[in-house]
């Protein structure tokens, strides 16, 4: 077994070999060519935004995973685990639980109404004001920041790992992703997503195997962690006590999976209500069962191999460089590029869908033919991509304070919409006055908590109060929506008459949910047994 390793000098100026450049070229040229080839599937709005609602559940679930998995997760997520320790693995299961509940009780109802976006669903469920306020906030503010962040983070990873010019990377990634999306539509986006999963899976699988082989198994990883990072049931987390972190992560997960525009496109594009549920349930397998094996455990092993890294985000790049040979290293770079592509093209496609159907067609230019809207969608996509390049450049110029503050505000605006969406899907009694009041109270609560955190008032609760703020905002919005809805009667939006809110669980879905439940319980048992404290693990390992 290898002991602690010296840090490679200029570890991240690892230039690509010609043969690895060829891999990058194959991927970029292949993806763009396929996007252009798929243009015939994007000849209508439904084809362009949702692949004609014909995506099988299995592919939709791969696409859901790929959209959510990008360079940030492999680099930043591993870095956070390196910094905090195994207790963070809890988050996967709280998030997984939220994802399962959203799968079973929400997404089939969204798919049932055959809308293009969540804004469309909220309009049908509650009325124009609720749906339009969601679409406007997401289109004009949230998605622009989000895409800028994806581009900047992706370009930064390539700059760090292979020394590419930051600005050239931002332009290359955005132009290629825009060509794929705007010509091939959602079908091309799904193809990129599946390719990303294939390209990321192989290198990280081999990385995990190489690490386990070298260190001597999971027992040895556990035994070599310091006690503060090696205890799964530790009560100390950067987000407050464990219970608070778990609850906060659950509400964060519920908010994210029920409102994030590009994620919701996956179940909306599924070929049936059952496939819509499968698109989310399938993704849960990745986040709760596979992710810990290919990301979390190697990140924990990095604590042993590369102790005291000045920047925790360098943990995974160091592991990749040390354990993967050239060739497979090139595949990793292509996989990370594919991750950025799939997140960026999903975001562009979601923007085009929302802007065209909820804003342009609904408000600005109603009653035109489909060709007009398709042209408008592509024009808007180009403008949006250019604006996002500008946002990414702003991020790179160190306008960090302002950007992070804005992102933080926006991230806490997600929970009020989530509360209104989830309650609206569960309870027919919820109505428009309740939803509007919930959004207002949730928004005020979110901003109030953000200011309180900036003034240090939340420090006694948690060092980083993001999860706490999310939970309180969600609960405040939900309580207000429920109270006002129960106290008022609004005939136009009683929900029960307007929207079918019944839950249908097929035998296939039930089987998946049971397997997932057992798998998650097994994984919690795995962490609890192996990581019950470094000392105990070491003793058991020695005994075994």
């Amino acid at each position: 077994m290898t002991d602690a390793l010296p840090l490679a000098e200029a570890a991240f100026a690892n230039r690509l070999l010609p043969i690895e450049w060829a891999m990058v070229a194959v991927f970029v040229v292949g993806s763009v060519t396929w996007g252009v080839f798929m243009h015939r599937t994007a000849a209508t709005l439904e084809g362009s935004f949702l692949a004609g609602r014909r995506v099988p559940g299995f592919l939709a679930s791969l696409s859901t995973v790929a959209t959510n998995l990008n360079a940030n997760d492999f680099i930043g997520g591993a870095g956070t685990t390196y910094l905090v320790g195994v207790v963070l693995a809890h988050q996967g299961y709280a998030n997984g639980l939220a994802l399962v509940l959203v799968s079973l009780f929400l997404v089939q109802k969204l798919r049932r109404l055959r809308v293009f976006t969540l804004g469309g669903w909220l309009e049908k469920r509650y009325g124009f004001e609720v749906g339009f306020s969601y679409s406007l906030i997401w289109c004009l503010v949230w998605m622009l920041f989000n895409l800028g962040l994806y581009l900047y983070a992706g370009a930064l990873v390539l700059h760090t790992l292979v020394g590419w010019n930051l600005y050239a990377s931002i332009v290359l990634l955005s132009v290629a992703a825009a060509v794929i999306t705007l010509s091939g539509g959602y079908s091309a986006v799904v193809a990129t997503d599946v390719l990303q999963i294939s390209l990321m899976f192989f290198p990280f699988l081999f990385l995990s195997l190489a690490v386990y082989g070298d260190i001597g198994g999971v027992w040895e990883i556990a035994a070599r962690l310091p006690p503060d990072k090696g205890t799964f049931w530790s009560n100390q987390t950067p987000f407050g006590p464990l219970g608070l972190m778990l609850a906060g992560t659950f509400f964060m997960g519920a908010s994210y999976w029920s409102t994030e525009a590009q994620v919701i496109q996956r179940p909306l594009s599924a070929r049936s209500e059952e496939d819509a549920v499968v698109s989310y349930l399938g993704a849960t397998f990745w986040f709760t069962l596979l992710c810990p094996i290919v990301i979390t455990l190697p990140a924990l092993a990095a604590i042993h191999y590369f102790p005291g890294l000045p920047n925790p985000d360098l943990a995974m790049p160091h592991m990749i460089q040390h354990f993967l040979p050239r060739g497979l290293y090139g595949v990793t770079i292509v996989g990370l590029m594919a991750g950025v592509f799939s997140s960026v093209d999903a975001q562009i496609n979601a923007f085009c869908a929302m802007f065209t159907t909820d804003v342009y067609r609904r408000v600005l230019r109603p009653g035109r033919d489909e060709r007009h809207y398709l042209l408008a969608s592509r024009t808007a996509g180009v403008v949006f991509t250019l604006a996002a390049i500008g946002t990414a450049v702003l991020f790179s110029r160190n306008e960090k304070g302002m950007m992070l503050f804005a992102l933080s505000v926006l991230a806490t605006i997600m929970p009020p919409f989530a509360a209104v969406t989830i309650l609206g899907a569960m309870l027919g009694r919820m109505n428009r006055p309740g939803a509007l009041a919930g959004l207002a109270v949730g928004g005020v609560t979110a901003v109030g908590l953000l200011i309180a955190e900036h003034r240090g008032l939340l420090k006694p609760i948690a060092g980083d109060a993001l999860f706490f703020r999310t939970m309180i905002t969600f609960l405040a919005a939900a309580a207000c929506t429920w109270t006002v809805s129960m106290a008022t009667r609004h005939p136009s939006c009683s929900g029960r008459e307007a929207v079918d809110l019944s839950v249908r669980i097929s035998p296939r879905v039930l089987r998946m949910a049971v397997v997932l439940g057992l798998g998650m319980a097994g994984m919690v048992g795995f962490w609890s047994w192996f990581f019950r404290g470094a000392g105990a693990a070491a003793a058991t390992g020695a005994g075994g």
């Binding site: 070999l17 292949g30 599937t41 004609g52 079908s187 799904v190 050239r326 060739g327």
Partner: protein, 74 residues
Amino acid sequence: MSEGDQRYSLNVGIPNGLILIAIAVLVLLTPLTTAMTPAQARIDLLAGGLMLAGGVVSLGWGLLSRRRRSRGRS
């Protein structure tokens, strides 16, 4: 299946298979063009072989689905 539906037929298997096969071949060629230890070469050969197999399965699945669809159309 109606004519309109045909336009939306997804064919993820073909592009995925073609690109995977091309990249797998490059991974398999890496030990021949780059100095590396036998252990590293073995990892590349194993990973390249698996990727190649994955690519062939994906391409086969894509071609099969395509043929099935065109039969359904006629």
